[in-house]
């Protein structure tokens, strides 16, 4: 099924000015202005990381808040601005979508990171590669926030080299029998559907023996075991498949053609890094505030210089993101250059976390109860994960070297 949102603009599309008025009216009616929580020291939630440690009750409450917001937004026509009408989208242009997200920045939007993989990777893959029934079953409900998707790629033995995965998909008439294990699967414990890569052909070269599926996470034989992250959060999991029976209609793309699906997903994953998906803008603003409330640091020339360097880097990243948005608007798919965003963002976040830690001394790593200080510990602990999730720094650099700079491939017996 190919319902490319960009190619099916609504014939009765509203102009940007009217859209803006409607969007502001909608947001005014449902949200508070962001100023109350993001740029005033001591006001609002000081959490710095989506991976922060939470109790199960806090986690559920957070998801429910995100879900309620997604549903409200979707029902008002702002949930999937570029999506096709038949799937509940507004069939407007990427310009409308970008305008909406810019306007939205001025509001206190509930954190919706639980939907990042779901909507950034899983739903697009189902839409692009799924059969009608699967698309109907999942895509609209995912965009409305009713359902959550997770990405079942990495395995204990297959991380960077995901094509070496060994979870097996064995064909049994109209069904597939899935057996194996995935690991570090973000959000699997809340997910309704997984985007699964499994080995369907053990004789073919490794990239050519993989098939992709959308798999309902409630199927018998699937077990999700939470893993604790270094942050104390339990956002990622091990997922075990024990002879799970899945109908062929859940297959995405051709048999043994799953690597093509994976590539399109990974490109989307990197594109997720554009905009402020990593929270760099917010972190830099918090860093500025942290410096400002401490006169001794605010006066320290080394601190000031490093802060200035970080602000410059964040500005460059923001402009690069805008340029990438422009390319996307022009209908160009995300390409290898998107890897720059992930690297640049995680590097800048690392500098932010280091400077905050240095400025605050013990207060950044020991909880004195003071607002906005120990909250940095979460970011300090999160940064190493960001440098790994969605492609490690080293793998990102390989992609840049080989695909953007055109350098020779790394010597290897197999690649």
């Amino acid at each position: 099924m190919t319902l490319n949102p960009v190619e099916t603009p609504c014939e009765t599309a509203i102009d940007l000015a009217t859209f803006e008025t409607n969007a502001r009216r909608f947001l005014d009616a449902h949200l508070q202005p962001a100023a109350t929580s993001t740029s005033v020291w001591g006001v609002g939630d000081d959490t710095m990381s989506p991976y922060a440690k939470r109790t199960p009750a806090q986690e559920l409450e957070r998801i429910e808040r995100a879900r309620a917001w997604k549903q409200t937004e979707f029902d008002a026509g702002f949930g999937w601005i570029t999506g096709p009408l038949e799937l509940g989208g507004a069939a407007l242009t990427p310009d409308h979508a970008r305008l909406y997200s810019e306007i939205q920045n001025a509001y206190d939007v509930p954190p919706t990171d639980i939907y990042a993989i779901s909507l950034g990777m899983v739903a697009p893959a189902i839409l692009q590669h799924g059969k009608r029934g699967v698309v109907d079953r999942y895509v609209e409900a995912m965009h409305r926030g009713d359902l959550i998707g997770c990405q079942l790629f990495s395995e204990p033995g297959a991380g960077s080299d995901v094509a070496s995965l060994t979870t097996k998909a064995t064909c049994d008439r109209d069904d597939w029998i899935i057996s194996g294990q995935k690991v570090w699967t973000s959000g699997a414990h809340h997910a309704d559907v997984g985007l699964l890569l499994a080995r369907s052909n053990t004789d073919a070269p490794k990239h050519r023996g993989i098939t992709a599926f959308a798999i309902p996470m409630s199927l018998p034989g699937i077990e999700v075991r939470p893993l604790t992250m270094m942050t104390g959060g339990t956002e990622f999991n091990e997922v075990f498949f024990d002879d799970v029976r899945l109908h062929d209609s859940f297959r995405l793309g051709p048999i043994d053609g799953g690597w093509g699906v994976a590539i399109s997903v990974l490109m989307n994953e990197r594109a997720l890094g554009t905009g402020d998906a990593f929270g760099l803008g917010r972190a830099v603003e918090r860093l500025r505030m942290t410096t400002a409330v401490q006169p001794s640091n605010a006066r320290n020339p080394l601190v000031r210089q490093q802060l200035a360097r970080i602000v410059c880097a964040a500005e460059c990243i923001r402009y690069q993101a805008l340029a990438a948005d422009g390319r996307r608007t022009a209908g160009l798919p995300p390409g290898p250059a998107e890897s720059v965003f992930k690297l640049a963002n995680t590097h800048a976040l690392r500098l932010v976390a280091e400077l905050a830690g240095q400025m605050l001394g013990a207060a950044a790593i020991a909880d004195t109860g003071e607002w906005g200080t120990y909250a940095w510990a979460d970011l300090i602990l999160t940064v190493p994960g960001l440098r790994v999730a969605g492609g490690t720094d080293e793998v990102m650099r390989n992609i840049l070297a080989e695909r953007v700079l055109g350098l020779p491939k790394e010597p290897s017996s197999v690649r």
Binding site: T368, L381, S413
Partner: protein, 383 residues
């Protein structure tokens, strides 16, 4: 120039390494950290080996060990965790202050406990508004003749909450004198009336625990005053070079352990049909790290040698602490990258290393403070 350890020192190193393998391997230290467990029996084992008495002179019943020998133990213990090494070092550093500056009566009174490592002496210098600028401390002790009345608050006091803790509190006894001259050192039992101890949640260092300590009209007998009245600041500074040096050796040890762990993983873990350690992108940073660790170790050993030969070494000890602590952070950062997804899960020892490393460049004097000391030795007054 002689780089080799003596035969005795080599045996000590081997004993300490075997001790870690047997009683406190890194995975166990991680479990202790995660469960806030204080392994009292580990102390007893260290005491049985005579390690707590090692820093004291032979004629006082001590082991007469040199600073280098103490560094060797601290370095080996840190292969378990920095916290374990810290527990060892933190016991005798304040003990040496009592030995050097205490009265004969105090020395006799505390001798058995010091030599056996029975005292958990928690040093209380820092306060909410006095960290790097330790002399700005405000916690007050009023002289009431045969006793002092102590009021105020201390912050980040390591080990104060352990059973039997003795708090070595630096307090202001003369509020009118210039800030360095109105400080005294009092020994205050953790369970004295009016002392309240509250544990501070921290990223790591959970073995001994970090605490806020509140003093509310605490009566401290005069015989617990160590050194001269108002002369506490020189006591505070007196053990600092030794502390920095031994801690530098510990940082070297834990950095080496961190490297050893990632190296082993990188030889075993295969991606793209080869051990990941064979990617230059990882091999070269690991080679750089080993170079840094060797440099850090040499700096620590040099400072230890200077202390032994009674040369002033504030500059060299600061360099060693700076390099050692920064190298530990760098090692843990690289380790997280090498272990990637596995590292980010709490199942890995590496996640513990990263949590623990963050404090290295802060506690015991921040990196900036060490740089100030080095800069000062170069004729640059930066503060």
């Amino acid at each position: 120039m002689q780089f080799a350890l003596t035969e005795e020192q080599t045996v000590l190193q081997q004993t300490a390494s075997a001790f870690v393998d047997r009683y406190c391997p890194a995975a166990l230290a991680k479990t202790w950290d995660e469960t806030n467990h204080f392994p009292a029996d580990l102390w007893q084992r260290m005491a049985d080996l005579g390690w707590f008495s090692l820093p004291y002179p032979l004629d006082w019943g001590g082991g007469g060990g040199s600073p280098l020998e103490i560094c060797i133990i601290a370095e080996a213990l840190a292969h378990s965790s920095l916290d374990v090494a810290m527990a060892y070092v933190g016991t005798f550093i304040p003990g040496l202050v009592i030995y050097r500056h205490g009265t004969d009566e105090q020395r006799e009174r505390f001798k058995p406990g010091l030599l056996e490592g029975a005292y958990r002496i928690a040093v209380a210098i820092s306060e909410p508004d006095a960290g790097s600028d330790a002399a700005a401390l405000r916690c007050s002790a009023v002289d009431a003749g045969d006793r002092f009345i102590v009021n105020g608050q201390k912050a980040w006091c390591t080990g104060a909450g352990l059973p039997g803790a003795l708090i070595a509190a630096y307090v202001r006894t003369d509020p009118d004198a210039p800030k360095h001259r109105g400080i005294s050192l009092l020994l205050i039992p953790g369970d004295a009336q009016g002392v309240q101890i509250r544990r501070t949640p921290t990223l790591a260092r959970h073995l001994l625990g970090t605490n806020e300590v509140f003093f509310d009209d605490v009566e401290v007998p005069r015989e617990n005053l160590v050194g001269a009245l108002h002369g506490g600041f020189s006591l505070l500074m007196s053990g600092l070079d030794m502390e920095k040096t031994v801690m530098a050796a510990a940082y070297t040890g834990v950095a080496q352990s961190t490297l050893d762990e990632m190296l082993a993983y990188s030889k075993e873990r295969r991606q793209f049909d080869r051990p990941i350690g064979n990617f230059q992108a990882l091999a070269h940073p690991m080679a750089d790290l080993q170079t840094e660790i060797d440099a850090a170790r040499l700096l620590a050993y040099r400072a230890a040698w200077m202390i032994s030969s009674q040369q002033p070494c504030t500059r060299e000890a600061s360099m060693a602490k700076l390099k050692g602590s920064e190298t530990y952070v760098a090692a843990a950062r690289l380790g997280m990258q090498v272990l990637a997804g596995h590292g980010f899960s709490t199942e890995s020892v590496m996640s513990f290393r990263w949590r623990e490393s963050i404090v290295a460049t802060i506690s015991g004097g921040t990196s900036q403070i060490q740089r100030n000391a080095v800069a000062k030795s170069m004729g640059l007054i930066t503060y």
